[in-house]
């Protein structure tokens, strides 16, 4: 299980990009941290989610 924004989630060896696309995220509006470190946007496809990973997905909305 991977903890994503506080929730235990089954990701079954997916890449981060696969997960983000499955969940309908706009990848150009995100900042993703894995185990307290930013995942560079160029690495979403190669980043495989592993058991025990703690992921924070910040999905920005407009306004300021």
């Amino acid at each position: 299980m991977v903890k994503i924004n506080g929730k235990e989630t089954k990701t079954q060896g997916m890449s981060l990009l696969q997960y983000l696309v499955q969940e309908g995220y706009h990848t150009e509006r995100l900042a993703v941290e894995c185990n307290e470190e930013i995942v560079p946007r160029s690495r979403y496809a190669e980043k495989i989610l592993r058991d025990g990973d703690v992921l924070e997905i910040v999905s920005f909305v407009g306004g300021g």
Binding site: H26, E28, R29, L30, A31, E33, E36, E37, I38, P40, R41, E56, V58, S59, F60, V61, G62, G63, G64
Partner: protein, 211 residues
């Protein structure tokens, strides 16, 4: 003309000398000078944060005056210049550096090279994401306070400050975008800006605390 010492003494009376000196030595960048950034800069300047770096490529427009810290007399002025004018009107001894440019992946590193504390106060989600990714990837030792979700009105207590990592904090309700709420109003935008400025002051005075 009020002297620098008189202003410092007045601030020290409010904050204690020790806190005032720490704030005066601090340097913070505010990226985006709309409803969030103009109020963040105002709050930091009122506290006596000594050096501010104001960055925005926009000019003051009539449609900004519902929530941003500008006046009719400033219509058409570059926002960094207009904001600087106001900040200096209550503390003329602040060191204020302005950049009237659009932040991109190409120029962000150079623009922020000397800024240990950074506020992300843009309005477009893509620009917010660009700056956040850039700072977290290239400047992991800096402190970043960003915002997402402050459109609409009401629901004050949904605006929060959340720790993402020890060096990155996010303010807002994380849901209410202009895309879905259709309006941006001074009270809720100012609430979010106050969260950001308040977190920044805490980081300057105490650093990032775990938990």
């Amino acid at each position: 003309m009020v002297s620098e010492k008189e202003i410092d003494d007045a601030l020290a009376l409010r904050h204690t000398r020790q806190v005032q000196e720490k704030l005066k030595k601090a340097k913070a960048a505010v990226c985006g000078l709309g409803g969030l950034g103009s109020h963040i800069a105002g709050a930091l300047a009122r506290c006596g944060v000594g050096s501010l770096h104001l960055i925005d490529d926009d000019r003051v427009d009539l449609s900004n005056l519902n929530r941003q810290q500008y006046t009719l007399a400033q219509l058409g002025m570059p926002k960094p210049e207009a904001l600087k004018e106001w900040l200096l009107s209550f503390n003329p001894y602040l060191k204020i550096c302005t950049d009237c440019v659009r932040m991109t992946e190409e120029n962000t590193g150079e623009l922020l090279k000397d800024d240990p504390y950074i506020c992300e106060a843009f309005d477009q989600p893509e620009t917010k994401a660009m700056l956040t990714n850039y700072v977290l990837e290239h400047f992991p030792e800096r402190y970043l306070v960003g915002a997402s979700g402050m459109a609409g009105f009401g629901e004050s207590n949904r605006i929060h400050t959340r720790r993402i990592t020890s060096h990155y904090y996010l303010c807002g309700d994380e849901i209410s975008g202009i895309e879905t709420c259709g309006s941006l109003m001074a009270p809720r935008v100012m609430l979010c800006a106050a969260h950001q400025a308040n977190k920044m002051i805490e980081l300057i005075l105490q650093g990032g605390r775990e938990s």
